[in-house]
Amino acid sequence: MRKTKRFWLLSLTAILSLSMITACSGTNNKAKETTGKTEPSSSAAATATAEAKQDKVTFKIFNGVAGSKDGNTNQTTIGKILEDQTGVNFKLEFVVGDLNTKIGTMIAANDYPDVLIPDAAIEEVLNAGAFIPLDDLIEEHGPNIKRVYGKSLNQMRSKDGKIYFLPIAAQVNDFIPEPEAGAGFWVQRRVLEEAGYPKIKTLDQYIELIKNYRDKHKDENLTGMVSLTHDWRFFATSNPPMHLMGYPNDGNVTVDTNTWEAKTYAGADSTKRWLKALNDLNAAGLFDKASFVDNYDQYIAKLTSHKVLGFFDYRWQVDNALNVLKDAARKDPSLDGYNYFPLPVTFDEGTPDAYLDPPGGLVTNRGIGITVSAKDPVRIIQFFDNMLTEENQTLMSWGIKGETYEVNEEGRYYRTQEQIDKIDEPFRESFGFKYFSWNWPMYNATSTLADGNAKNVASQPEVFQMTLTDKDKFILDKYGVQTYSQLFAEPVPRPYFPAWGFTKEQNSPEQLWEASKDELTKKYFPKLVLTTPDKFDSVWEEYMKEFGKLDTAGYEKWTTEQVKAKVELANQ
C-alpha cells in the first residue's frame, strides 16, 4: 500500500508542478492585460495634471544600433537635466547580436518597448503595425517637432498618409558642410610631400602619383592601393564610379538634377573605366590582391600598417584607422607622413566632385517611433518635443556653458584646450554626449543653431582649428585652405537626397534587384580586377551578359518615381 501511495504522490507532484508552470504564465498574461487596460485612464490623469509637477516615469527604448552600454538616461548629466524638465527618464537597451532576430521576436510576441529605434528593420516593424500614428500627438503636443521637421512632414508620411516615426535628424537653419569630407580618395601625406603637394584632380593623376612614389621606394614593400570588399561593405569598391563621375553618394544610382532621372551605373562605362584602372594597377603590382579576401578588421589593420599608399573609402568606415594614425602622429610628429589626406578625384578634369553630402531631403528609412505597447505616448512625445528646443539641442551637442564650452564676445561658441582634453570617451559617457549623439529626434550635424553657431561641435570652425596639429595646418596651408572640405566642390542641393534612404518593401522587386546585383558584382569585380589586362574585355562581356538578366529598367523606373515624388513633396 505504501508503495502505491508513494507512486501516486510522485505523479501528483509532477502534475502539480506542471500546472503551476502553466498557471504562472497564465497569471502573467492576465496581469499584463489588465495593466494594459488601465493605462489609458492613468495617462489621461497624467495629462490632466500636466501643468502641475508631473510624476517621474521611466520608459523603455530599444535601439537597433549597437553602440553604448545599456543604462538610464537620468544617470547622465544631460539626461538628468531633461528629466528635471519633463519628469521622463528612458531606460536604453542596445541591440546585441542579430537585429532581425530581436525585432522578429518582438513582433511575434506583440510585445514592444515603449519606444523603438528599429534601424534597418523598420519596414518589418511598420508592416507589423507596431508603431502608433503620431499625427494627432504632434498636432497637440509638438510645436518644436513641427518647427524642426515642418518642411519635411509630408516626406515622412507612410502610404496611408500618417506619420509613424520621426526620422533620425532634420536640417534646421543654415547648412554648413562638415569640416572633413565624408569620402574621398585618400593618399599618404608623405606621398604628397615628396611630389611637392600637387593639385590632384583626376583618377589618372592620382594613380600616377602613387605609381611614382612606389617606383622610387621599390625596396620598401609598399602597396599602392587596397580596397574594402568584405560582406555588405562591398560598396566601398562598387561606389567609386558614381563619385568619379561627379555624383554624391546615392547608393546604386546617379540622379540627374535637371530631369530627376535615376540611372544605375553597375553595368555602365563608368564602372568599366574604374575597374580597368584597378586592373592596370594590379597588373603593375600596385594593387593588393588580398583586398578581395580580407575582412574588415584585416583591412583596417592594413591601413594602420604604414604600408598602404592610397585607398577610396567613406570616412565613417575608416575612422578607427585614421584616428589611430592621427594619435600616433600627435605624439610623434615624425609619423605624420603616414596620415591620410583626402583628395577630390574625378574621371575628368572638368567634372566638379561631389564628395560632400549635399543638403537634401530626409533619410526616411530610419527613425524613432512610439509602439503600441507604450504606456503613455503623450509624455513621450512631450519629451521629444522638449528635446528639440534650441536650449536642449545646444545642451545635447555643446553641453553646459562654462563647463564644456565657452562663448566669446561675438557670441561664438568654442572650447578651451582644457575642455577638449577633458572630454574623452568616459566623460562623453557620464555626461551623456554619447547617449544623446544619435538616433533621437534632433537637428542634423550640418544644421546651425538660431544664433548662427554650428549645431555640431566639430563643425564649428573655431573648434575645428583647435584640433589641428602644426603639420595639419602646414599641409592645409600648402593647398591654401583652412579646412579639408574647402578642397572639395561646394555641394549642390538635392531635395530628394539620399536615394539609398528610400524605403523598400520587404521581398519587393527592388530589393531582389539589389540582392542579385550585389551577388553578381561580388563575383565578377574581383575577376575583372585580377585577370590579365588582355582578358579584361572578355570577362566584362561575360559580366554584362549576366547583368543583362536583371530587371535594371524596372529598378531605375522605381527609383526615378521615388526621386520625383520626394522632389515634388519638397517643392510644396
Partner: protein, 317 residues
C-alpha cells in the same frame, strides 16, 4: 487456426509490458518531464512547418495568411543556384565526414600506442585546443595564413615553388575552397573527435592484448586486430549519427571564409537560406529549405541505421 494463439501471445505481451512498467514506475515517472520537454520543444515547433506552404507575413494571424501550396519548393528546386548550393553542402559534409573520421581514428590509434604519458598529454592538449577557438577567430587565423603575404605563400616563395609577386590567392580560387575547408575542419576538431575513441579504447580488455602478444602479434597487428575491432561499435554508431547530419555542413566556416570569388564553391544551404530567406524576410522560403533538409536527413539516418542492422552491427535503434 493460429489466431487464438496469436491473440493469447499478444495479450501476454501486453500484460508483460504493464508489469514491467509497474515495476519500473519510478523510472517512468522520472522520464515524464523529459517527454514533456520533447513534445514542447521538438514536436510542437513542427507546427511551424505550415509556414512553408504560406506566403507568410509576420504579425498576421494564422488564419489571415495566404496559402500558396508548393510554390516555395518549386522555386527552390527550379533555381540552379539551389542545386549548386546543394552540391556544395553534400560535398563539404562528405569531405568533413570522411576526413573527420579517418584522421580522428588514426590519431587515436597512434596516441593509444604512446607510452610516454607527458608527451601524450601535450599532443592531446595541443590537438584539441583549436576546438575551443570560435570559428570567427579561427577563420581570421586561416585567412591570415593563406593571404598573399601569409606564412604559406612565404614558405612557397622561400622554397622556390613560386616567384615573389606571383603569390597565390588561396581563398580567391574557387576550386581550392573545399580542400581549405576540409583541412581547417580537421585542424580544428581532430583532437576533440579523438577523445571519444580514446575513451572507447580504454574499455578494451587488456587480456586481449596479452593474448595477442603471446600469439606473436606485433604493435601494428595488435592495432589492426584488437584495438580497431574493439572500437568498431562506437565508430558505427557515430557514423550513423553523422550521416543524419550530412546536410548540415556547418555555417560559420563557409560564411566566414567565403567571399565573392569562391561563392560558387563555398555557399551552402544555410548561407543560401540566410541570403534569400531571412535577409529578404522571406521566412517561408527558409522554412521550406529547412524542411527539405530535415526530410533528407531523416531518410539518410534511417538508411544508414538499416544498413547497420542488416550487417548485424551496433546501431542507433
Amino acid at each position: 487456426m493460429p489466431r487464438p494463439a496469436e491473440n493469447k501471445q499478444q495479450s501476454g505481451r501486453m500484460r508483460l509490458f504493464f508489469r514491467k512498467l509497474y515495476q519500473q514506475r519510478a523510472l517512468a515517472v522520472m522520464s515524464v518531464p523529459f517527454l514533456i520537454w520533447l513534445i514542447i520543444f521538438k514536436y510542437l515547433p513542427l507546427w511551424g512547418w505550415s509556414i512553408a506552404f504560406q506566403d507568410y507575413k509576420p504579425a498576421k494571424k494564422f488564419m489571415e495568411q495566404t496559402w500558396i501550396g508548393f510554390e516555395h519548393f518549386k522555386f527552390l528546386f527550379g533555381d540552379d543556384r539551389f542545386l549548386r548550393v546543394l552540391r556544395n553542402t553534400l560535398a563539404m559534409s562528405s569531405i568533413n565526414l570522411f576526413f573527420g573520421f579517418v584522421t580522428a581514428i588514426t590519431l587515436a590509434l597512434l596516441l593509444n600506442e604512446v607510452r610516454n604519458i607527458a608527451f601524450k598529454r601535450v599532443v592531446q592538449t595541443v590537438s584539441y585546443l583549436p576546438h575551443f577557438i570560435s570559428w570567427v577567430v579561427a577563420a581570421s587565423i586561416i585567412q591570415t595564413t593563406l593571404s598573399p603575404d601569409g606564412t604559406i605563400n612565404q614558405l612557397l616563395v622561400g622554397l622556390g615553388f613560386i616567384d615573389r609577386g606571383n603569390e597565390i590567392l588561396f581563398l580567391g580560387i574557387p576550386e581550392y575552397f573545399w580542400t581549405i575547408f576540409g583541412a581547417s575542419s580537421v585542424w580544428k576538431d581532430i583532437g576533440w573527435n579523438t577523445i571519444v575513441y580514446l575513451a572507447a579504447m580504454t574499455t578494451i580488455d587488456p587480456t586481449q592484448y596479452e593474448a595477442a602478444e603471446i600469439d606473436g602479434a606485433n604493435r601494428f597487428k595488435k592495432m589492426i586486430y584488437v584495438t580497431l575491432p574493439g572500437i568498431k561499435s562506437v565508430v558505427i554508431v557515430l557514423l550513423i549519427m553523422n550521416i543524419g547530419y550530412l546536410l548540415e555542413s556547418g555555417f560559420e566556416p563557409q560564411y566566414l571564409l567565403g567571399n565573392g570569388m569562391n561563392v560558387d564553391y563555398s555557399e551552402n544551404i544555410d548561407i543560401f537560406v540566410l541570403k534569400y530567406g531571412i535577409a529578404q524576410s522571406n521566412f517561408s522560403l527558409s522554412i521550406a529549405a529547412g524542411m527539405f533538409k530535415t526530410v533528407v536527413s531523416f531518410i539518410l539516418l534511417f538508411l544508414a541505421n538499416n544498413a547497420a542492422k542488416r550487417m548485424g552491427e551496433a546501431r542507433l535503434y
